[in-house]
Symmetry: C2
Subunit: 182 residues, 2 copies
DNA sequence: TATTGTTATACTCTATAACTATA
DNA sequence: TATAGTTATAGAGTATAACAATA
């Protein structure tokens, strides 16, 4: 795209009926957020970004792992022999997305793809010995990260927050496939 | 997905003592999520994905707008004349990221970049007449989307959820720049 | 016919670094 | 020197569509 900086582009719409002196958003002035403070999606996104950054400064800085990879790793650890398609369903992502995730975990030596004896199309995912040794360390770092991030909340509040979130996405996911139309 | 919230899983997943016939993760078997059910970050991500998809099926399907663009648009509407750098700070993204966002909103005819009279480097962002006409319609759609998504919660729970999220990311953001280093 | 894993491709979101034109 | 906006580039993350092998 060419235009941008200098090019003003008189947006084909007429300019708003504004006078000259507009004291609205000068430097230093507090700005307002319109309806956003009541928008759940906005706060979810902010929180998500904040926890992701916290994870990056703590767990990722010491292990190079991402939240997504660590989540997958834990599901694999908890379900030895899991097929990629099952993992994709469990994590609610497309089969094709799983391929690169598994590639990365395998490249790090944390898991292996084992050919399924019963189905030649399928692979079972398992931790390697190295993966089994690494996972507890990562989990401890993750636990510390989670505890620090959740420090502003009491244990009860933290549990309640999780419970509220679960109610939201379980209902939403169910409605999406299930039936209660869009 | 079936289980999730309250369900405790056999945490400490050391490789279960299973023999050749590995009944761990066959088709149809319930799979477990290891520590994930207690991981706030996991539930945040799931909820975020769910609400994004709901937004896509409702607001985006009828307007072509994304949650990010609509959020920016609301901040611009609430702060006429806002400079791009101020918007970037308000939304906690990099200045360079804002450029394409503003390009898109301008390309849709919703906002204009107005040269600042006092600083030739700076532009003030404002809604066009078309943007001012469109915004209320988008807000109504967004409101309906939010209400439907949040339907599993009582109004009090919804407010409390927002309050909990705010406490988390405000503390985290503050600590990140401010001082209480990790 | 349907499923598993894969590839190719694309699109979104975001960040870093460097550039320009101002201040 | 510092700031505002821009550009080029890169890296996650995810999706769709098509394909081979197998069920």
């Amino acid at each position: 795209m060419k235009r941008a900086a200098g090019t003003r582009a008189p947006a084909r719409t007429a300019a708003p009926p504004r006078a000259a002196a507009e004291p609205s958003a000068r430097a230093g002035a507090e700005l307002t957020y319109g309806l956003l403070p009541q928008v759940l999606g906005y706060h979810l996104r902010r929180t998500q970004v904040a926890i992701f950054r916290h994870f990056a400064r703590t767990v990722a800085a010491q292990t190079g792992i991402t939240p997504g990879l660590l989540g997958m790793l834990q599901v694999i650890a908890a379900n030895p022999g899991l097929a990629q398609s099952r993992l994709a369903e469990a994590m609610e992502v497309d089969r094709s997305t799983i391929v690169k995730v598994v590639d990365q975990l395998e490249a790090r030596g944390l898991i292996v793809r084992e050919p399924s004896p019963s189905d030649k199309r399928s692979y079972g995912l398992r931790l390697t010995r190295e993966g089994a040794a690494e996972l507890p360390r990562m989990q401890k770092l993750m636990q510390a990260h989670e505890d620090e991030f959740a420090a502003p909340l009491t244990p009860a509040e933290r549990q309640q927050l999780i419970a509220l979130l679960v109610r939201l996405y379980e209902r939403a996911d169910g409605a999406a496939e299930g039936g209660l139309a869009p």
